[in-house]
């Protein structure tokens, strides 16, 4: 379970987030949605202890992310940010291998290699394992980063816009794979997504953020209704039902 209590983030005089109180149960996929500047990524990075909140605390599986030793936390929780720049030149396999660092401290064992191979296969990167990251397209690179996080093999996985740069085929397959990871491996996954329909089709819970506050929390069917969405996104919405999934239509 992820518990966020009283978390705020203030930059200068502007409060960009909070105070937020939120409980996400273990298991399943939670999608954070909301307009630009709503604080989705800020909340996710605070949960993943990459930035410290101005006030409040986050516990994951009962452990405070601010005080738990990084080495232990890295086996429990992994987080992937949107933008990653490395000064070193790495192949896909090198990168994915780094995901095993919390477990092996850099000396990869046979079991580590197995995990790496599994993560590479999971994201269908076998063809490009030996290519350098700077020779890849944005989508391939994105999948390589996710593979690294999967190789880390943590119970909790936080992903900041994992669909970034992915075409339709890869976006669908990414969401299917995350769904599999949640269902079959019992992972707890929190993602920031922009596409509401992806959130509705794959997530178990949707958290709607607006202006640094939690506006709504609920199942896709509860969230996907014009009253909720129109207010938050300031755009007229129509919701149709497609084979049992709510589908938001807002293009014109």
């Amino acid at each position: 379970m992820i518990t966020v209590s009283g978390v705020t983030k203030v930059y200068g005089d502007t409060r960009v987030l909070g105070p937020i109180d939120l409980e996400l149960p273990a298991g399943g996929i939670t999608a954070l949605v909301g307009p630009n500047g709503a604080g989705k990524s800020t909340l996710l990075t605070i949960m993943g202890r990459l930035i410290a909140p101005t006030a409040g605390r986050v516990t994951i599986a009962g452990r405070d992310v601010a005080t738990t030793p990084g080495r232990e936390l890295a086996k429990l929780l992994s987080i992937l940010r949107q933008e990653n720049h490395f000064i070193t030149r790495l192949t896909v396999r090198d990168l994915v291998g780094f995901g095993r660092f919390p477990h092996s401290r850099g000396r990869l064992t046979a079991a580590d290699h197995e995990q790496i191979d599994r993560a590479i296969a999971f994201l269908k990167l076998e063809e490009i394992t030996d290519r350098y990251l700077d020779q890849l397209s944005g989508g391939q690179r994105q999948r390589a980063y996710v593979a690294m996080v999967l190789a880390q093999d943590t119970e909790y996985i936080l992903l900041d816009e994992p669909l970034n740069n992915l075409d339709i085929r890869h976006a669908v397959s990414m969401m299917t794979q995350l769904r599999m990871a949640a269902d079959e491996l019992g992972k707890t996954i929190v993602i920031v997504v922009h596409d509401l329909n992806f959130a509705a089709a794959y997530a178990d819970r949707i958290v709607v953020l607006n202006q640094g506050q939690v506006a709504h929390v609920g199942t896709p069917t509860e969230i996907m209704c014009p009253e909720v969405l129109t207010g938050v996104f300031e755009t007229p919405f129509r919701i149709t039902n497609h084979d049992g999934y709510p589908l938001a239509v807002y293009y014109r």
Binding site: L50, A74, F86, P102, E114, R118, E184
Partner: protein, 341 residues
């Protein structure tokens, strides 16, 4: 995830990966051979007495001091620069940007300015060397912990302040140098250019000992260094306490640079050239490859340059001037070719 294993057997992937990896060991062998050859040349070239006689060994023993100094300086500069690049996630900075060299210059100038030129040689000795090193490391540590570990915690602010300190020290030195008499200035400037010949035998064991301890600490961290090079967010995600690791790295860098500087004076560009060439030539981004490679390359370059200057051009003292010149050119070419930082 377990299911996909059966769907896509990963077995054929790894042998291919192994095959496509460039083989690294020949490069290390070549460099080691070159380093040993250069050392033997420097030790034995152009000695009057016939090999094997007492006079021959006497001269060889004297030259061992130069070779040992060069090896220590090469290790310090090469490793310190690579560590600094990793710590700052930037491959165009050198530790001297943090005002190390400038601090050394201001200390020497201050000594001459306040106490006269003869103080320089009168105070020479282990206590002064230790004090100088401690001052430099203390300055760096204070800067790092105050700026980087503090509330702001911004690496770029810290670098900027380091640059400002460096400029400030430089200006202060220039001001004091203006007021010196020409003869005092002459004595001083001999100290301010890195000079492999004016190193002293009695410091070497101490310097060597400290360097070995630092290198052991670095080696112990080689895997962590690879992770730190991925940047703050990824390193934190992988379980490292980023700030603490970076401060440790910067302090180790400070120790290495201060030892090199107290032994032979400032060597602004040497570390940069060696580190940059190593990244290009070693064919791996792992620190356990890059660090030894950079060390060997540094030894080869310094010993080779020393030999050529001493026995071909008879101008041994000029080595660091040449390195600065060549290094400056290399720096410009690298910057222009790469087009960005």
């Amino acid at each position: 995830m377990h299911e996909t294993v059966t769907k896509a057997p990963p077995a054929p992937v790894r042998p291919m990966a192994a095959a496509r990896r460039p083989r690294l060991w020949p490069r290390f062998v070549i460099l080691t051979v070159l380093a040993v050859a250069a050392a033997v040349l420097v030790l034995t070239w152009d000695i009057g007495p016939a090999p094997g006689t007492r006079g021959f060994w006497l001269i060889v023993n004297m030259r061992v001091v130069s070779v040992a100094t060069i090896v220590i300086v090469a290790a310090c500069q090469a490793v310190a620069t690579v560590l600094f690049h990793t710590a700052t996630s930037n491959r165009i900075l050198t530790p001297s940007i943090m005002g190390f060299d400038a601090l050394y210059v201001v200390m020497q100038t201050g000594l001459v300015f306040f106490f006269g030129a003869d103080t320089l040689s009168r105070t020479d000795g282990l206590p002064k060397v230790v004090l100088q090193s401690l001052l430099m490391v203390g300055f760096a540590t204070a800067l790092y912990t105050w700026l980087f570990a503090g509330r702001r915690g911004d690496l770029h602010v810290m670098l900027l302040i380091g640059v400002v300190f460096g400029i400030g020290f430089g200006a202060l030195s220039t001001f004091m140098q203006r007021l010196l008499t020409p003869s005092e200035f002459d004595i001083l400037s001999a100290r301010l250019f890195g000079n492999l010949s004016n190193s002293h035998k009695e410091y070497l064991p101490w310097a060597g000992l400290v360097v070995i301890v630092v290198l052991a600490l670095v080696w112990q961290r080689r895997h962590r260094l690879d992770v730190l090079a991925l940047g703050r967010e990824t390193a934190t995600n992988l379980g490292l306490h980023f700030k603490r690791e970076i401060i440790v790295l910067l302090i180790l860098t400070a120790v290495l640079i201060s030892i090199s500087t107290t032994l032979v004076g400032p060597m602004t560009f040497f570390g940069f050239i060696i580190a940059t060439l190593s990244y290009q030539l070693v064919g791996s981004s792992r620190h356990w490859h890059v660090l030894p490679f950079a060390f060997l390359l540094g030894v080869v370059t310094l010993l080779g340059g020393y030999f050529v200057l001493r026995h071909v051009f008879y101008a041994a003292g000029l080595l660091s001037v040449i390195i600065e010149f060549a290094g400056g050119l290399f720096f410009l070419i690298y910057l222009l070719r790469k087009g960005s930082l």
